[in-house]
């Protein structure tokens, strides 16, 4: 029986969830970990998405870690640059810097003889006890199959490829897509451009989030009065989870309220024709609810046109729609979203007996309680499949999941377990439970959205945020296939020898 031993941990991704786990590891006294990221800075999705108007849909008070409240939030719904600098400060304050391996893209991770062998694009191999995929959700840009996309002579890009050098002042701009990105961008660009065309395939409900900012007094209170931040945090959490989150998972007054607000907000559009164009056919919240301030004001400006016609193809100068009209533009932005069911598929993760992610996810991403995968020992996902990202701040999801992972690491370090992965049976039982709970949620009311994977299965959490927290508050050892130190590495067909320390 092995005695105590420190665990070595590799985290892939220095975004919100990767930073969260890194800080929690540091706080628990573990120093033997690294965070790989292919980018040059931390921040993940907030580093990639710097288009004009990028902001968060979750109130900023709860879009921060509970261990690091932020008195400096400026907007009620934080802007991208605020969040970036917040994350930078967290990294700085907790001394995560030395653990970062920025610019090192992980291409392969293989579980061999009781440890994870991680290979980076530069060909460097390292060995770890635990592998954590904090690779994020909205990473892989989705581009529409449009004819002539290469023929266009102007500036064209996906919203995630926006560079700060792009100047749109006095130019004609086309935004393709009216999801969260397209809507936020419209609000930000309407004032600056000469003409803005918004190409809409499906109309969306837009929740009018307040564009308020915190006053100097409030910021001062947050900085100086102990406990005030915690109180505000509690208030926003209750307000957010009691309305938006609750509306998503069950019918009730919350759903009617949110729907009513969206409908009322749409009344701001005076022109009947435009209003009809912007009225969605589905119920509110069926797709990810789009939240933006002043969207309906922006689309009524003289220089903004909403185009509801289907796009025929892209020409050299602009966009040709089905009705035969060509609109000439200087800049074209694809606000067409991401492939949300990718998860960590950009990394070739190979578990026990040569099992790959592609093998086990051939019919859609499935996990055990959002964090683990059968056949992949000592491997955990942050914000993995079915995490409650529709109703909870990603920061808090990451905290819940980090605490769970930390509990496993503690068990490993105590010498009680050497390898653990959920049993197929436990994972199947969990997914069966998920499937049977989906019909009650608003997501299953029939519209297509990124909440569905490529096979049309739902990837959301059908219960309350509390139940997610509860489900991960305790390790149920009987759901796991556990190997202890002297027997680990002996029986796995994937391992070459029993050479396990």
């Amino acid at each position: 029986m092995g005695g105590r031993r420190k665990a070595r941990i590799a985290i892939i991704g220095a975004g919100v969830s990767g930073i969260c786990l890194a800080v929690k590891l540091k706080l628990s006294g573990n120093d033997d970990f690294v965070v790989f990221d292919r980018g040059g800075t931390v921040g993940g999705v907030w580093r990639e998405n710097v288009y004009p108007g990028v902001s968060c849909d979750v109130p900023s008070r709860i879009y921060s870690f509970s261990f690091a409240p932020n008195p400096d939030w400026d907007a009620y719904f934080a802007r991208g640059d605020e969040i970036r600098s917040y994350l930078d400060r967290v990294v700085e304050r907790y001394g995560i810097g030395p653990h970062l391996r920025l610019g090192e893209e992980v291409v392969e991770a293989r579980f061999v003889a009781g440890e994870w062998r991680v290979l980076t694009a530069r060909g460097v191999e390292s060995r770890w006890d635990f592998l954590i995929a904090a690779t994020g959700l909205l990473v892989q840009p989705a581009l529409p199959e449009l004819e002539g996309r290469n023929a266009y002579r102007g500036v064209a890009m996906h919203s995630a490829q926006w560079e700060s050098g792009v100047d749109v002042r006095g130019k004609r701009v086309a935004i393709i897509g009216t999801g969260a990105t397209g809507t936020q961008m419209t609000c930000a660009l309407a004032e600056e451009t000469e003409h803005l065309y918004l190409f809409q395939r499906t109309a969306q409900w837009v929740f009018p989030k307040p564009a308020r900012r915190y006053s100097v007094t409030t910021k001062g209170l947050h900085r100086l009065v102990p406990g005030f931040s915690r109180l505000a945090d509690r208030f926003w959490r209750v307000a957010f989870q009691g309305t938006i989150s609750a509306a998503a998972v069950s019918a009730g007054w919350q759903r009617r309220l949110i729907g009513g607000i969206c409908r009322l907000s749409l009344r701001q559009v005076r022109s009947k024709e435009l209003r009809r164009l912007l009225t969605p056919v589905d119920d509110p919240m069926c797709k990810r609810l789009v939240a933006a301030s002043g969207f309906y004001r922006a689309v009524q400006q003289q220089n903004v046109t909403v185009v509801g016609e289907e796009i025929e193809r892209i020409t050299e100068r602009g966009i040709l729609t089905r009705d035969g009209r060509e609109r000439e533009v200087d800049v074209m932005v694809f606000a067409t979203g991401f492939r949300a069911d990718t998860f960590m598929r950009s990394v070739n993760v190979v578990g026990r007996a040569g099992r790959t992610i592609e093998d086990v996810w051939s019919d859609g991403p499935r996990a055990y309680r959002t964090v683990a995968l059968p056949g992949f020992p000592n491997f955990f996902m942050m914000v993995g499949p079915n995490s409650p990202f529709s109703s909870e701040s990603v920061m808090r999801i990451a905290e819940t999941q980090s605490d769970y992972v930390l509990r496993w690491i503690e068990l490993f370090e105590s010498g009680a377990v050497a390898e653990m992965s959920p049993t197929q049976e436990a994972a199947d039982r969990f997914n069966e439970l998920l499937r049977s709970a989906m019909p009650g949620t608003v997501f299953s009311s029939g519209c297509a959205s990124w909440y569905h994977d490529s096979r049309g299965s739902l990837m959301v959490w059908p219960w309350t945020v509390r139940s997610h927290h509860r489900m991960l508050s305790r390790i149920q050892l009987s759901h796991f296939d556990i190997r202890q130190r002297e027997e680990a590495g002996r029986s796995g067909p994937g391992s070459e020898s029993g050479a396990c320390p």
Binding site: M1, A416, L472, Q476, L477, S478, I482
Partner: protein
């Protein structure tokens, strides 16, 4: 002790066989089984009056009808441990190196004493009110609508109290472990709870000669606030060759609070103990 005995797990008051899931998952090298004690989980209460002797006889039957091969080591928590102690007095022939039971692990096996952490009159008051909750639930369970409401309130109070850190758990217990136990406890019939709490707060050490023939391990939590210290001291005097382990920062509900530490101790015990020489046959 044979090289690889099988394990029979006996749960404590208010739990059921599933209670040992975590510990058993960490001891997969041993064949093991667990059962729901009378009045718990899927086992009905039956017609006989619930006593520790009755639970001990049930245990004896479980040993004789073992579904696993070879002799067994009994592992009992709290009331389960009490059942093992009674069995040693009732059926001593079952214990011994050549017999069915070749060892015992007594986890937090003690008389319950709610006055341990609070002394004097407040302690007595506390004890009385804790004991009155299941009694109230039992009494009003089949009454009118108001009675049923009272009974539900009493069970709700039991659930809330048993989910708090104090007095059952140590600082090590996770919120999930506490919730698990309080759910199990609130699911137990009030009759079982009420009778067993009375039995456990007032039971004396039986004749333990049989237990001196086999290796014994006692495990207690360092912060156990409801086990009687006096009782544990007497137990160790009665079993001088027993090995004992104290788990730091743990309370009374060891199998859920710290399955890793507990299974580690059991494993060490199973791997290294031999039959006490002076009593070996």
């Amino acid at each position: 002790m044979p090289v690889k005995p099988s394990l029979l797990f006996v749960h404590g008051l208010g739990a059921d066989g599933t209670y040992w899931g975590d510990v058993r998952s960490l001891l997969t090298r041993y064949e093991s089984y667990a059962y729901d004690q009378r009045g718990h989980g899927r086992s009905p209460l039956g017609d006989e009056t619930l006593t520790l002797d009755l639970l001990a006889r049930d245990l004896g039957a479980a040993v004789r009808n073992s579904p696993v091969p070879g002799p067994v080591v009994l592992v009992g928590h709290s009331a389960g441990g009490a059942a093992i102690l009674r069995l040693a007095a009732l059926e001593p022939a079952l214990f011994g190196p050549e017999s069915e039971i070749v060892g015992a692990v007594l986890v937090s096996a003690s008389r319950l004493d709610f006055r341990c952490s609070v002394s004097g009159y407040p302690g007595r008051l506390l004890e009385r009110s804790l004991l009155s909750l299941p009694r109230a639930a039992l009494r009003y369970e089949h009454g009118g609508p108001v009675g049923r409401l009272t009974a539900r309130g009493a069970m709700g109070a039991i659930r809330v109290i048993s989910g708090r850190s104090w007095p059952l758990y140590g600082p090590k217990a996770s919120a999930g472990a506490r919730r698990e136990f309080s759910t199990l406890l609130a699911r137990t019939p009030p009759h079982t709870l009420s009778v067993m709490l009375e039995l456990l707060s007032d039971f004396s050490l039986p004749d333990l000669a049989a237990l001196r023939r086999v290796p014994v391990l006692t495990v207690t939590g360092e912060r156990d606030r409801i086990a009687s210290h006096e009782y544990l001291r007497k137990l160790s005097e009665e079993l001088p060759s027993a090995r004992s382990a104290v788990i730091p920062r743990a309370g009374h509900v060891l199998p859920l609070e710290c399955p890793a530490d507990l299974s580690g101790e059991i494993r060490k015990f199973l791997e290294t103990s031999t039959t006490p020489k002076e009593h070996g046959q």
